[in-house]
Amino acid sequence: MTTELPVLTAKDFASDQELRWCPRCGDYSILAQFKKVLPTLGIPQENFVVVSGIGCSSRFPYYVDTYGFHSIHGRAPAIASGVKGVRPDLQVWVITGDGDGLSIGGNHLMHAIRRNVNLKIILFNNQIYGLTKGQYSPTSPLGKRTKSTPQGSIDNPLSPLSVAIGSEATFVARSVDVDTRHLTSILERAAHHNGTAFIEVYQDCNVFNSGAFYYASKKGVKEDNVVYLEHGKPLIYGADRDKGIRVNEGNRPEVVELGSGISEDDLLFHDEQADEPSLAFLLARMRHPEFPEPMGVFRSVQRPVYDIALDEQVSEAIERKGPGNLDELFNSGDTWTVE
């Protein structure tokens, strides 16, 4: 029997909890796009699970009316892997941040991605520890002055996408909190990906790290600072769409002006399905201000999915040995009878 799914809207996914993020926090926009996308996926509301760790972003599950788990610092990918381990039928979203996902929880993030557990991971990157009131994070730039680095940070930052690609991610994307249409499209793509989908979202912490991503979010500025990736298309950007990215003979990206002997055909063409992740890695290393920062889907490939494979091993074992019989199990091995 098939039953018609009720038509849901973003409102249906709003919980009864009062939102407690700071006014004008970038998290509001991400939450709004998320609630917009969920009803479009054709999945019953009760089959969504949102799991988070600790940090400002990790309050997220309280504000979405699905099954939710606001867990402990850094462990959300591991908890979510447990959920998928027993229930591959659920759609599980993991909400994390740069401190939660890359510092205390770096190991869990790496291994969830490596296994290709069917999780949708959104990493809110604001380059700061907000909930603990302003210490530098693993993505804060060198020299960043914060409460814990009064003379400037001496920790080299890492790129969340490089970590994901290095962990053999099958889906890697980036968007910006206030770029609502782009973010929505990326969330949709992630939702439909089979395997771990990893999304970095540039998110403005307007209290402790205000404007960290204005170069990528402000109208009139971002056009020259970001390049939108489209599969099979050349990397062109700029307010006048007159600049592009070319790969030079040293296999390094370079910014070129279109015209004057350089045509679109000379540019780097995006291939999100490339066999090797080297292109995605090259794109992930393009940083502002030397380069425009790529937005969109860096990589989207297919590989066996952990939770499906686990399920298949169970089915295969049942097929091969028959459903487990306790009596047979207890009597296995050498037995003897005492009269």
């Binding site: 009760e46 599950p61 788990f69 402990i72 447990g82 869990h108 050498d334 005492v338």
Partner: protein, 620 residues
């Protein structure tokens, strides 16, 4: 084998013995654990009661021939009830000088010593720290019945013609030693022969070599003039039924699988490899046809977290580790306590602190289990008494977890985990159903309230995917009833007390404590975990001598059985033997304001019955 220089077999005498303790010891690469477990198996199949003590180094291959690399396997087999692997050894098989040096102190006077004479050459002697060959030391060997056997040469002879390299041939000498022991104790080698054929089915030449070595050892016993007597240990008078041999870790895997069946739920096991708990993962990963899903996580933290995630969905979740891993799990166990989700955490205890003694037993994690998490974080604790009891305690732990919506700790130890005993195969009728209830509708006019409790203070367990019951859990303190985040001071005090009271309420669902031996009088000995056998044997011996001693062995450590306080008042002295510096004794003193005394050993080894008898007698 040729029998030209052989005394006629009929000159050999057979003597009957009630009980024998035998120990195989040799280099880590000598296959002593295999020889020991095969001897255990054939003895169990023959009908003896058995108890074993595998004792091996933490290094997989310490330098060959070194003292650190000695691996031993002790087996106590008997025509009587056996409670322990035995204090002293009747027969010691030493495969090299290092094994002789580290084990001979445990061989009783008049005991049988069988050595591989071929390995007592200068190199191995030096590695063992012998300046001269101990086999020439008449004072050292005088108290024993010594058999110097050229095992290496005889094994090579036995496998001659099979085309094995000398190295491959030498690896068969544990089977030669085993064959000799089988002859010495009239064991039927059939179960071992079957095992070899199956194990090496893809390497028939190795199978044949091992079988020839085994036969060679048996033939040697029969033919050599060195052995004039062999021994018969009649079957034990065990309760009627069908039996098999089982180790503690196997029994835990069986027990959890049975619990899942009895609860009609799938079982999720998340773990990280750690000695001595890994065998639980190995066993369960072979049971996927029972719907068992095993997840080898990236670390202990992830294993615990994944168990919490699986429990959230409404499935049965377990994890197992040892002390160092339990430390790492503490954070996510606290989350389990806060979210009041059912799961079982197994701690197969080993010597600590830190990495400690990975392969040696200890009971030093009781306080860790009780208090090793931040905040007021109570959870029920149970502990199996024997390897076979692991089967039952696993189901009991799961029952408590599900009935009371709480993580439960199960404290096993290295001694129980690796030790083996005969296990009466249960009938399915012996197993109790585990009732699991998941709500399908609102539990109030205000919708679904995840922390609305029943009369035992238990909250409902909504299965993820149930329409209308969407709710959020988390590690932040919550309002009772609604489960919403709540920092109110009075609510936190209320919730802390509710969580404690809920765990205390478990006492009403567990059996009253029983006492063995004297029901009142001079002394009550209280023990827990793997010391059961040694304590029971000691108390049994003393009560048979007319001493006024009782024994209470606790399987429930938190909460205690409800009658324990009253039992304690019936005795003048309370003695608590533990393989730690005094943990249960502290809990008892604090719970009952009783002047309980500890008797403690912390050497990575189980209690000897004799030392317990002495400890008890000296306090009577």
């Amino acid at each position: 084998m040729a029998a030209t220089d052989v005394a006629p077999a009929n000159e050999k005498r057979t003597e009957e013995r009630d009980t024998i303790v035998i120990r195989f010891c040799g280099d880590s690469g000598d296959g002593m654990q295999l020889a020991g477990s095969q001897m255990t198996n054939v003895s169990a199949v023959f009908g003896n009661d058995v108890s074993t003590l595998p004792d091996f180094p933490a290094e997989i291959r310490a330098p060959a021939g070194s003292l650190a690399g000695v691996s031993g396997f002790q087996l106590h087999f008997s025509s009587n009830d056996v409670f322990t692997p035995g204090d002293e050894v009747d027969t010691l098989i030493a495969m090299n000088p290092a094994a002789l040096k580290t084990n001979i102190a445990d061989l009783k006077r008049g005991g049988t010593l069988i050595v591989n004479q071929d390995s007592f050459a200068s190199g191995d002697l030096k590695k063992a720290g012998y300046e001269s060959n101990p086999l020439d030391d008449e004072d050292l060997l005088a108290p024993f019945d010594v058999h110097k056997v050229e095992m290496t040469r005889l094994t090579r002879d036995a496998v001659d013609g099979l085309g094995l390299s000398p190295r491959e041939a030498d690896r068969c000498k544990n089977f030669f030693a085993l064959g000799l022991v089988y002859w010495l104790y009239e064991r039927d080698a059939t179960p071992t022969r079957n095992w070899v054929s199956e194990k090496f089915s893809k390497k028939p030449e190795i199978a044949e070599a091992n079988l020839k070595a085994l036969q060679g050892g048996q033939n040697f016993g029969l033919s050599t003039e060195s052995f004039r007597v062999h021994f018969r240990v009649p079957p034990a008078k065990l309760a009627p039924g069908k039996y098999r041999k089982i180790t503690g870790n196997e029994a835990l895997a069986f027990g959890f699988t049975a619990a899942a069946k009895m609860a009609d739920r799938s079982l999720f096991y998340a773990g990280y490899p750690i000695t001595p708990a890994s065998d639980i993962l190995h066993e369960l990963s072979r049971l996927k046809h029972f719907g068992v899903r095993t997840f080898q996580a990236e670390d202990e933290i992830a294993a615990m977290s994944a168990a919490v995630g699986a429990a959230f969905t409404g499935e049965l979740a377990i994890t197992a580790s040892s002390g160092p891993g339990i430390c790492l799990k503490g954070e996510a166990m606290g989350l389990g306590v806060m979210t009041e989700l059912p799961m079982v955490i197994v701690d197969v205890q080993r010597g600590g602190p830190s990495t400690g003694l990975p392969t040696k037993t200890e009971q030093s994690d009781l306080m860790l289990a009780m208090f090793g998490r931040n905040g007021e974080s109570p959870l029920p604790i149970v502990a199996p008494a024997t390897p076979g009891d692991c089967f039952w305690i696993a189901q009991e732990a799961m029952r408590i977890a599900v009935e009371f919506m709480t993580p439960v700790m199960l404290l096993s130890d290295g001694y129980i985990a690796n030790g083996a005993e005969p296990w009466r195969v249960p009938s399915l009728d012996d197993l109790k159903p585990i009732q699991v209830d998941h709500p399908t509708e609102f539990n109030s006019e205000d919708g679904f309230l995840p922390y609305l409790r029943d009369e035992r203070l238990v909250r409902p367990w909504a299965k993820v995917g149930t329409p209308g019951l969407m709710h959020r859990l988390g590690g932040l303190e919550k309002s009772d009833v609604t489960g919403n985040v709540d920092y109110d001071p009075n609510n936190h005090e209320h919730m802390s007390k509710v969580r404690a009271q809920k765990v205390a309420n478990v006492a009403a669902s567990i059996p009253e404590q029983e006492v063995f031996g004297a029901q009142d009088g001079e002394m009550l000995v209280i023990s827990w975990g793997g010391t059961y056998g040694a304590v029971r044997q000691a108390v049994k011996t003393l009560t048979e001598d007319g001493c006024s001693v009782g024994h209470a062995h606790l399987r429930y450590l938190n909460p205690f059985p409800s009658n324990l306080g009253e039992l304690i008042t019936r005795f003048q002295t309370i003695l608590v033997p533990e393989l730690n510096l005094g943990q249960l004794v502290r809990l008892l003193r604090s719970a009952f304001l009783v002047d309980a005394q500890g008797y403690n050993k912390i050497q990575g080894k189980p209690f000897r019955v004799s030392e317990l008898i002495e400890a008890i007698q000296s306090r009577l």
